[in-house]
């Protein structure tokens, strides 16, 4: 049963390229131009002019809730916030991404996730969106498809996902109680030993001196 579609369709009209990535609650459209100076080996499938190398604009539709438009730096900020955030979610350790000065920030809020988008225009309030897990997953799938699409020639620098360090790992539930039983046993042993050392030992009774047994010599 599949009630979602995965698509990456490109259309060509007067050298302008469009890439669409769509999920149930999310649609990402990229518009741009090919780099005609690129060599055929750099182009997808070896055909020059089929690779979107100059981004002129992009639009993100999050269902009926918001339609966002931006430039390359906004797309880079979106990818830089969403991808590491989701990486931490897979480890069950949600970690806020993006500071208040960055165009995009993402942090946990309640049972969902708070996506904040700040406009570069002055006196514009940031757009505050509450996404649930399903909506965030749709957005992630769209971004994943875009990043792996061979027809996209734009570099979106993103470090490969890394394992969390030991100190970053979420504390396992029950880890504390796992030590409780042996610690209680050790404690009980120490207390018993302490009490046993306080109880006085019964004095050893020395046998009373007995008169030497009479010796008789018989001849």
């Amino acid at each position: 049963m599949t009630n979602f579609s995965l698509s990456g369709i490109s259309s060509f009209s007067s050298a302008q390229l469009k890439l669409h990535f769509e999920e149930s609650s999310c649609r990402l459209d990229l518009t741009g131009l090919p780099d005609v100076s690129a060599s055929p080996s750099d182009a997808s499938d070896g055909v020059p002019g089929q690779r979107l190398s100059i981004l002129t604009g992009w639009e993100l539709n999050l269902g009926q809730r918001a339609a966002l438009q931006g430039k390359l730096e906004h797309l880079q900020a979106l990818v830089a916030a969403v991808q590491p955030y989701v990486r931490h979610l897979v480890s069950n350790h949600p970690c806020p991404q993006g500071d208040p000065s960055s165009p995009v920030s993402l942090e946990p809020r309640g049972k969902g996730h708070r996506l904040q988008l700040r406009s570069s225009q002055a006196n514009t309030e940031p757009l505050d969106l509450q996404l649930d897990d399903a909506e965030l997953a749709d957005l992630t799938q769209c971004l994943d498809q875009m990043l792996q699409d061979q027809r996209l020639g734009i570099s979106l620098p993103l470090p490969a996902p890394q394992p969390l360090r030991r100190r970053e790992q979420p504390r396992r539930k029950g880890a504390a109680t796992g030590w409780a039983a042996p610690a209680a046993a050790l404690g009980a042993l120490l207390i018993t030993a302490g009490l046993a050392s306080v109880i006085p030992l019964p004095e050893r009774k020395r046998p009373a001196a007995q008169p030497p047994a009479p010796t008789t010599s018989q001849r």
Binding site: V90, N92, D133, Q141, L143, Q148, P163, L164
Partner: protein
């Protein structure tokens, strides 16, 4: 792979079986489709690999080979993609609340049954997971992990996540 990663990997596969009634058959079919027949030629080989989980009732000693590790990770991501609509429904706030709670109840009861059947219930982690109240957030985390490891970038994310604490 750290011990905890191995445990999580097997619990993710168990969650897939709880979500899909034909999950074990789907695993074998996916192994063939993904070209993993060398690592898992039959269901016994797959079961033996999964039994490396120390939380299992009948756990096998030793470590997974890198081929087996890679194969199991690929299998989880592929099956997550297949179950994506179902995972999405479970974690969506726009689904009818009553219907979704029934779905959760069904998943939780099947997951608990499978865990009780195959895992060592003396282990604290297992006791927590099957606990009806405390285990709820843990079961939600398992489904959330499956949801976010679906898709083209899911494989890398899950691989990195299973290696947590190794650096």
């Amino acid at each position: 792979m750290p011990r905890r990663g191995l445990e999580r990997l097997d619990l993710l596969l168990l969650a897939i079986e709880a979500l899909d009634l034909h999950g074990s058959e789907a695993m074998l079919w996916s192994c063939e489709q993904l070209g993993l027949s060398a690592a898992f030629p039959d269901r016994v080989a797959l079961w033996k690999s999964r039994c490396r989980n120390p939380l299992r009732r009948a756990s096998r000693r030793g470590e997974l080979s890198s081929q087996e590790q890679q194969g199991l990770v690929q299998l989880v991501c592929s099956l997550s993609q297949r179950l994506y609509p179902m995972l999405r429904q479970l974690l969506s706030s726009s689904e009818p609340e009553q219907l979704n709670s029934q779905r959760w109840e069904l998943f939780s009861s099947r997951y608990r049954e499978l865990i009780q059947e195959r895992m060592n219930e003396k282990r604290g982690a297992i006791r927590l997971l099957i606990d009806s109240s405390e285990g709820e957030s843990l079961r939600r985390q398992v489904v959330q992990t499956l949801l976010f490891c679906a898709g083209p970038g899911g494989l890398q994310r899950l691989e990195a996540s299973l290696m947590d604490g190794s650096r």
